[in-house]
């Protein structure tokens, strides 16, 4: 009998994605807080590579709305339902899904306290709580007034609210979009939003205008967005950058007045995206070291503050990686390997990570940024600084293909998490 090299290699190569080595070694409990791109991806990957582990996922909402593709709802390309996912498949996978609001995190005892007083502790604690809004950053903007001036920066009811306001607006109305200073979740997201709202207005309310009040001077994929706006929506979008006092300083929600250091405008519809920082749960636990975001080890995503506590996604300071669903998903896969190896007493070698963000300027007009990162030694480091995006002047065929790839990516990643 001969065993081919291929057979041997194939078996060994598949190890990291096959039933784990440590079945006999333990059945540790992993508690994950947050069922978004970081937490849901991690729960499912752990079931796959280490089925002997007990996995508990704590998530407040029974329905998760993805921020990716939610700008398409605002542009009238598809209904909110398209970006809504339930956790049934995770429960069927053997993940203990607990729908409850968390009120505190204790890194030392690796526990999460729930609003109803229950406490859930694990051998390993993973925190993927996402962002909170820094309401103090804009005078007059609060969780309450955001019901009048929606941020729609956590997808769900806020997305529908903004869509309904756009639909109800008269032709000729002024839509104001306020963009905060970085870092914020999804760097190209506001500009995709501007594009798809413009697309809706051009078709349904062509006398309307979009005024962008931007705290930033430069932004992600800027030449590509500006090229698309010029070609697809000429004369419809005006943008005031931060250096020309574009930053929104205060709002009067009742009057729809939006103020910068330079001017006041009255909007028909105002989408004011507040500045952001990590969830208060991780800040209260001291995991942000006072920085507003949590530093993590570049290989394992273990907190640099609390051993045995891992942090994923938007809440982290992840070196050069942006705050995106794609990043959180890739981080979850690396973190799963770190958890399994650490439990087995092995050290994990660094690998390479990827982030790809597609943006749509119109239904059949997409472009992308694609980055590869090395894990360490000091931080997660971007490997190529030039030529990271689709080329300016790319053909209609390229833009159509990138829009199709965006759809394909969305289907694959949401199926991985929720299908």
């Amino acid at each position: 009998m001969t065993v081919s090299r291929r057979t041997v290699l194939g078996g060994l190569a598949a190890l990291p994605f096959s039933p784990s080595l440590l079945r006999a070694q333990n059945s540790a409990r992993v508690v994950i807080l947050g069922g978004g791109f970081g937490g849901a991806s991690l729960a499912r990957v752990l079931r796959r590579i280490a089925p002997e582990l007990s996995v508990t996922l704590i998530e407040r909402d029974t329905v998760f709305h993805t921020c990716p593709f939610s700008n398409g709802v605002l542009g009238g390309m598809w209904p909110l339902d398209r970006v809504a996912f339930r956790y049934d498949a995770l429960a069927a996978d053997g993940i203990d899904v607990v729908h409850a609001e968390a009120s505190a995190v204790d890194p030392a005892e690796k526990s999460v306290t729930l609003a109803d007083g229950r406490k859930i502790a694990g051998d390993v604690l993973v925190l993927a709580p996402g962002i909170q809004f820094d309401w103090a950053g804009i005078e007059g903007l609060t969780a309450e007034t955001a019901e009048i001036l929606p941020h729609a920066w956590k997808a769900g009811p806020q997305t529908q609210l903004l869509r309904d306001q756009l639909v109800a607006m008269d032709d000729g109305g002024l839509v104001v979009i306020g963009i905060p200073a970085p870092p914020f979740r999804c760097p190209p997201g506001p500009y995709e939003r501007i594009s798809l709202i413009a697309r809706y207005l051009k078709a349904a309310k062509p006398a309307s205008k979009i005024l962008v009040l931007d705290a930033q001077d430069n932004f992600s994929k800027q030449p590509l967005f500006e090229e698309a706006w010029k070609n697809l929506y000429p004369g419809m979008i005006e943008r005031i950058p931060g250096s020309q006092s574009g930053k929104v300083l205060s709002v009067d929600a009742e009057k729809h007045r939006i103020s910068t250091g330079f001017d006041d405008v009255t909007a028909a519809v105002a989408n004011i995206i507040p500045p952001q920082k990590a969830s208060q749960l991780v800040i209260d636990a001291g995991l942000d070291k006072g920085l507003g975001w949590c530093p993590v080890d570049p290989v394992s995503f273990e907190s640099t503050v609390a051993p045995g506590v891992y942090i994923l996604g938007d809440a982290t300071l992840a070196g050069d990686m942006p705050k995106s669903g794609f990043s959180a998903n890739v981080q979850a896969k690396a973190c799963a390997q770190a958890i399994v190896n650490t439990l087995a007493g092995r050290k994990l070698d660094p690998s390479k990570l990827i982030n790809v963000c597609y943006s749509l300027a119109a239904p059949e007009y997409g472009f992308s940024i694609a980055d590869v990162f090395a894990q360490g030694p000091e931080k997660i480091k971007l490997l190529q600084s030039a030529g990271r995006t689709t080329a300016v002047g790319a053909s209609a065929g390229i833009h159509a293909a990138e829009a199709e790839y965006a759809e394909s990516w969305y289907r694959t990643i949401t199926t991985e998490m929720f299908g």
Binding site: V8, L12, A13, Q337, K352, I354, A370, V372, G397, A401
Partner: protein, 102 residues
């Protein structure tokens, strides 16, 4: 002498296997980042092509074309991604995905 020769062969094959395992294992780790688009099973849905079970030589040739930014057909993100990987990493990825069940 005979004993020594076979010991050498065993030792040599151990090192050859160990070296291959290191590369193949590396392929599995490197491939994790690919799965966000190409799927955990090496196949997703829609336009992004499946990779699982495709001939190793075909995958290798296609990835080398992207790596050198000389794709056989019009490309989008793959040349931008694969320029950040070296020849050994690309070979490991080709082996890993061709070994996956299609």
């Amino acid at each position: 002498m005979k004993f020594k020769a076979s010991a050498f062969c065993i030792l040599a094959s151990y090192y050859i296997l160990a070296a291959s395992v290191a590369i193949a294992g590396n392929g599995a780790r490197l491939a994790e980042a690919c799965t966000s688009c190409h799927g955990l099973e090496g196949r997703g849905g829609g336009k992004i092509p499946p990779l699982a079970g495709r001939p190793e030589t075909e995958l290798l040739a296609q990835m080398q074309g992207y790596q050198k930014n000389e794709p056989a057909t019009e490309a989008t993100i793959m040349p931008r991604i694969l320029r950040a990987y070296d020849d050994a990493e690309i070979a490991a990825l080709a082996t890993y995905f061709s070994d996956m069940k299609p």
